[in-house]
């Protein structure tokens, strides 16, 4: 592994570290709001990966300069970064906030129904309800089930 390869890829690895931190929050934390925050971190790390793919060394933002007459001037000397991933990620950010807001609304609704937003407590309440229902059904069947 040469130094050039290392410097050329360290960015991707750093984003993977960030992505895995978000993933860890989603898997290990029981609080639902914290899970959504972790999901956001994961998402942002993916965005960074795409944006870093579009980067061109020595390039600049893909906006053309305008001369004094107000005409757009294309200077072939200037190197621009790839604008296509930027557009893709712009769309992704807006869709991301839409899904986040839907998740947060669901959390508010869950808290209303279960009176808690901890995953462990919700699973325990679900198990208890299921057990109580089983007993009721069993008695309705004549106590044999």
């Amino acid at each position: 592994m040469t130094l050039e390869f290392f410097i050329g890829h360290i960015n991707y690895w750093l984003f993977i570290v960030l992505m895995m931190t978000g993933f860890y929050i989603v898997v290990a934390c029981g609080n639902l709001v914290k899970k959504v925050v972790g999901l956001n971190i994961f998402q942002v790390a993916v965005f960074m990966l795409y944006i870093s793919i579009s980067k061109v060394t020595g390039g600049t933002a893909p906006i053309f300069p305008i001369d004094r007459m107000g005409k757009i001037k294309a200077d072939p000397e200037i190197v621009y970064s790839n604008p296509l991933p930027h557009v893709l990620i712009l769309t992704a950010i807006v869709v991301g906030i839409a899904t986040t807001s839907l998740a947060l609304a669901l959390i508010v609704r869950i808290r209303e129904a279960y009176n808690t937003i901890e995953e462990d407590d919700i699973l325990e309440i679900d198990a208890r309800t299921a057990r109580a229902e089983n007993i009721i059904h069993g008695e309705a069947m004549g106590g044999r089930a």
Binding site: I41, V44, R109
Partner: protein, 187 residues
């Protein structure tokens, strides 16, 4: 080289913020740290030449999403229970997935390579022809609103659907809450 150092410093701050979010149990602090995270991300996007993306991230990630999360914790709970389960299994899953992803990057082109496949096929067409075809100085704008206008229309549809979904999930919240209170008073 300067760019790499700037990226590295911003990235270190991002990782510190993310680790602080992992360890923090007070939800208000978690939300504020998430907002800080978004602002740092916006700075990193500027360093990576994506000014439009940085702008959107600062407005949406650090602005709207923070407000939504603050509203949620105001309606639900202020604190999170500290993790009771052992965290060896999540750690293992995360490390294995991370190793797989690192393996996947090994044959990717170098960072900033002008000859990378993603930079030589479609992008030059937009960069050379968009002045004649669209006549907007910002190439990102001309792709977003004109070349890929239908994508943006679809995005609007998604946001509309999400808004309707939020309204339908939350509708009657205040009404139900008042009914509950009346029941409690009766009891």
């Amino acid at each position: 080289m300067t760019e790499t150092i700037v990226n590295f410093i911003l990235f270190s701050m991002l990782v510190i913020t993310a680790f602080a979010i992992v360890r923090q149990d007070r939800l208000f602090t978690v939300v504020m740290l998430a907002s800080v995270f978004s602002l740092l991300t916006a700075m990193l996007f500027v360093a990576l030449d994506a000014v439009d993306v940085a702008f959107t991230e600062a407005a949406v990630g650090a602005g709207i999403s923070t407000v939504l999360m603050l509203g949620t914790i105001a309606l639900t709970a202020r604190g999170a229970k500290p993790a009771s389960r052992p965290n060896t299994l999540p750690l293992l899953v995360v490390l294995v997935t991370g190793a797989g992803l690192v393996y996947g990057t090994l044959d990717m082109p170098n960072f900033g390579d002008p000859e990378a496949p993603s930079n030589v096929h479609l992008a030059p067409h937009y960069l050379t022809n968009s002045i004649e075809e669209i006549d907007v100085p910002n190439v990102v704008t001309s792709i977003l609103a004109s070349y890929r206008g239908f994508d943006t229309l679809g995005e609007t549809a998604v946001v509309f659907a999400a808004g309707i979904g939020v309204l339908m999930i939350l509708s009657g919240l205040r009404h139900r809450r008042r009914e509950d209170e009346e029941e409690e008073e009766d009891a």
